[in-house]
């Protein structure tokens, strides 16, 4: 809102936690106790949420459209999975290893991505995604190819908590990782660096004019985003103790994009809300709609979001919230 800028003194966004944010996180904790039968699904929602948050960093903040974000998710997943298969099943270091390799791949590819305009970026990310998928597919002697990577054996978390089939450790572990990363990223996007990303999204040509290095910032956020996606992938590999080829697939890239748009891009929470809504809906509807037709409704939903409900769930909710609070005062 332009008049806000004019009337308020220029400062960084305030960093206090909104009550709704605290409610949200407490809700994720209570869900653990309320739905003990759904902890496996819950941990996958958290992981997908983290993946969507990583996409939000480049798409929602810096405005880089990616159609191949699963590349980094998959690299992280295979790194953690392969480490465990070849005898190092320690979860925390595996997680960081996943993030590190994804960050390296992300840094390397970022130069290819950021140099072009929208369309070139789109195709470059698409190409990188397909390339890695095909590489993993053909390198079956390492990755297991279409059969997936099995034999992932995780050690106990901190030497204490076993990864059980009920998803107890998986849920709490995923939640802890998600929360810690979220706190860090929440700080990052509220920093001057984060604001410059929004500047890139809004008017990339003017960013060099205020003295901020455009390409450098884009490379930085792309690398961070890849690292977070890699961590999400590593989490999935560790908690499910399996890596399927689909971690690198185009469907996964498209799905995470849909989840983010459904939730609302450009505000970190969008990815999380989107993941909760999307995956819970998928779980409930899967009894009524077979997987082949689920895509039809997702497609319709996408078309509807673009044409009618621009901004996703969070924008809609914010509009309602603003109206309610304005009515009260």
């Amino acid at each position: 809102m332009p008049d806000d800028v004019a009337t308020r003194p220029v400062r960084l966004p305030d960093d206090r936690w909104h009550p709704l944010e605290i409610v949200f996180w407490l809700g994720l904790v209570t869900a653990f106790f309320l739905f003990p039968g759904y902890r496996v699904l819950g941990s996958q929602i958290l992981i997908t949420g983290l993946f969507a948050v990583s996409l939000d960093l480049i798409l929602g903040y810096a405005g880089i459209v990616s159609l191949g974000h699963a590349a980094f998710f998959g690299v992280g997943a295979y790194t953690a999975g392969l480490l465990a298969v070849y005898g190092w099943g320690e979860p925390i270091t595996g997680l960081f290893a996943g993030a590190a390799t994804a960050a390296i791949v992300g840094y390397g590819t970022s130069f290819l991505v950021v140099r072009g305009h929208d369309l070139a970026r789109l195709m470059m990310t698409l190409g990188i995604g397909f390339l890695l998928f095909e590489a993993a597919n053909k390198a079956a002697f390492v990755t297991g190819g279409v059969d997936g990577l099995s034999g992932v054996v995780m050690w106990k978390l901190f030497g204490v908590f076993t990864f059980d089939f009920a998803g107890r450790t998986a849920y709490l572990y995923s939640l802890a990782v998600l929360f810690i990363l979220f706190v860090v990223l929440r700080r990052v996007v509220a920093s001057p660096f984060g604001l410059s990303l929004i500047g890139i999204r809004e008017r990339s040509r003017r960013i060099p004019a205020i003295g901020a290095p455009l390409r450098q910032r884009e490379v930085a956020i792309f690398t961070i985003s890849a690292a977070v996606a890699g961590m999400a992938g590593a989490l999935l590999a560790q908690t499910t103790q399996f890596v399927g080829l689909d971690v690198l697939s185009f469907s996964r890239s498209a799905e995470v994009l849909i989840i983010l748009i459904l939730g609302g891009a450009g505000r970190l929470y969008g990815g999380l809300i989107g993941a909760v809504v999307y995956m819970v809906a998928q779980d409930i509807l899967s009894t009524y709609i077979s997987a082949a037709y689920w895509r039809f409704w997702i497609g319709l939903l996408l078309v509807a979001i673009v044409l009618v409900a621009h901004g996703g769930i969070l924008d809609g909710a914010t509009a309602i919230y603003r109206r309610l609070t304005r009515g009260r005062s």
Binding site: V65, H117, M124, F130, L131, A135, F296
Partner: protein, 288 residues
Amino acid sequence: MVAHLIGVLFDGISYGSLLFLIGVGLAVTLGLMNFVNLAHGAFAMLGGYSTVLVMSRYGVPFFLALPVAFVVSAAVGALLERTLYRRLYRASHLDQVLFSIGLTFMAISAATFVWGPTQQPVRVPSFLQGQVQIFGLDFGAYRLFLIGVVVVITLALGYLVERTRFGAQIRAAVDNQQVSAGLGINVDRIFCLTFALGSGLAGLGGGLGIEVLGLDPTFPLKYIVYFLLVAAVGGAGTISGPLATALILGVFDVAGKYYVPEIGAFVIYALMIVLLILFPSGLFGRRA
């Protein structure tokens, strides 16, 4: 050895000309409307299914089924352009991508619902089956036919774009929409007609390509990279750009699958990245 090389080259060229036929419509949408239409492959798939349907159910011969494929895809394209696509010409690329991914998903599900997930067979006329001997070398008859069709269509398109009034209007609209509209060109109508033409050609390509590309519900996703490459690297407003790109793609893809089958589709994705690095604004340059 040389015979092999010629065989691969020939297969690659016929494959590439098919990619051109399907992809040229996308190049026009991209250049003229600046619209990233990831659902373009769905129009090709629609053409393919129309061909199969009229042939198997109504016993229409192959050569009459192809024009049907063109007309059906063109009509659906025009309808969608009027009702949905035109609302998004000024939207961000992200919105266009989401919208067209949504359409693609719907098309895939609908095709699975109607025709099932299996490959559809097509029976081409008997004189197009088998091999033809030219200078002692064997060539696939159908592939020769394919190249012939695409040569004719390319010449017709070239004539349309370079020599006719309609073609001049398209070129003007690609160059500058506002000025064209100011000169009295009905840009809206041009958009609709070119979109329909592009979709129709994709449909025709889909019908012609069943023999080569196959036809199942995942078609639009499987080949979208190829079509996008033809459009984005080839550039818009010309016929030669997409044609050259499509031929390069076709030859490299066939050669890759023939000589280094271990790495499979890897070649084509690597080529895609190399082409994008070398020609960020299209093979023959493109307006900013």
